[in-house]
Symmetry: C2
């Protein structure tokens, strides 16, 4: 277990250091690519010792993946609007907004390419958390009678998020303003139905 | 225009060299990661001069992207089964099969990360070609009256392919044997309908 994951008083010195490093990394990711970024730059911006960063996270990739995890947990809320369509549009829209930021793009690219073991663990934890949250949305929809097949809905969630990542990473195209709505309507209604008027 | 794209007699010496280099690259990609691969190794395996490879392609990334383009064009046929569902299951299934191979995985990862200008051009050409082929499928379906909104169908195609790439690259998970069928049913019927019996 690393220092970063050890239980500690909220707002304590370790928590403040962690926050400073995460904020510094986020700011630097908005200015340049993750590969160009050095732990020295991050430490200098955060006002902490470079050795402290290595002690807490072990490697630059592990730090960056932790930043992805932390920012996503903070920014990617799971909506509870009262309807499945509303929840999906809002949740997928939040992901799209995040991926449109330079830091969000950089972190998504990193999550898809970082190969070390720590990054792999953080990546698995990240996706497990995102999919758990999606299951909450689908569970509520099933209770309301809006949904029958929750497992197919989990695949739909993967398609929603996957299309956003694919668009920006593999195709290097922008996410249209209405992408969350169009994708949600696609997975809810399918192609065979005529468009609603 | 590079030598590789110049018009030439089929089966001529240039065509044979190009084929040898592409086959050697494909074989090497099945054995290791693209980043570990060198142009020297590729040239040696193909039995050509290293300088020839650089003259034809300019860079390793450009060569690898060309290999992706070529293999995909050869292996990813566009089905014409007589039904939209059949066409999509077959076409998406062929992509899944390709991405399950080590060379396919390596090339998909590369297409999502290579940043030089030549790679970007090849990537754009590749996706334009894939999406043109999808439009053919959807155009036939519209003529048969199976489909109303071809633009929404193009987004569905992006979701189908995007989910496969996302699954293997961002999540690092395997593609289930029935992934093409489940995804196709999702985008055709949507979540709101009860499962067919």
């Amino acid at each position: 277990m690393t220092e970063a994951t050890r239980r500690e008083r909220p707002g304590g010195r370790t928590a403040r250091t962690r926050r400073a490093v995460i904020d510094a990394t986020t700011a630097l990711l908005s200015e340049g690519s993750p590969s160009a970024l050095t732990v020295g730059q991050i430490a200098a911006r955060a006002g902490v010792n470079e050795a402290t960063v290595y002690r807490k996270w072990g490697s630059k990739d592990a730090l960056l993946t932790d930043v992805l995890l932390t920012l996503s947990a903070e920014r990617l809320t799971v909506a509870d609007t009262g309807s499945l369509r509303g929840d999906l549009v809002e949740t997928v829209g939040a992901v799209a907004d995040f991926l449109r930021t330079p830091a969000g793009f950089a972190l998504a690219a990193l999550a898809a390419t970082a190969d070390d073991e720590t990054s792999a663990k953080l990546r698995d934890a990240f996706w497990a958390d995102r999919f758990d949250r999606a299951r909450t949305i689908f569970g509520r929809a099933a209770e309301r009678g809006e949904l029958v097949d929750v497992e197919q809905a989990m695949l739909a969630y993967e398609a929603l998020i996957g299309t956003l990542h694919f668009r920006i990473l593999a195709r290097r195209r922008e996410l249209d303003a209405d992408i969350a709505e169009r994708l949600t309507d696609l997975v809810l209604d399918g192609l065979r139905r005529p468009p609603r008027d």
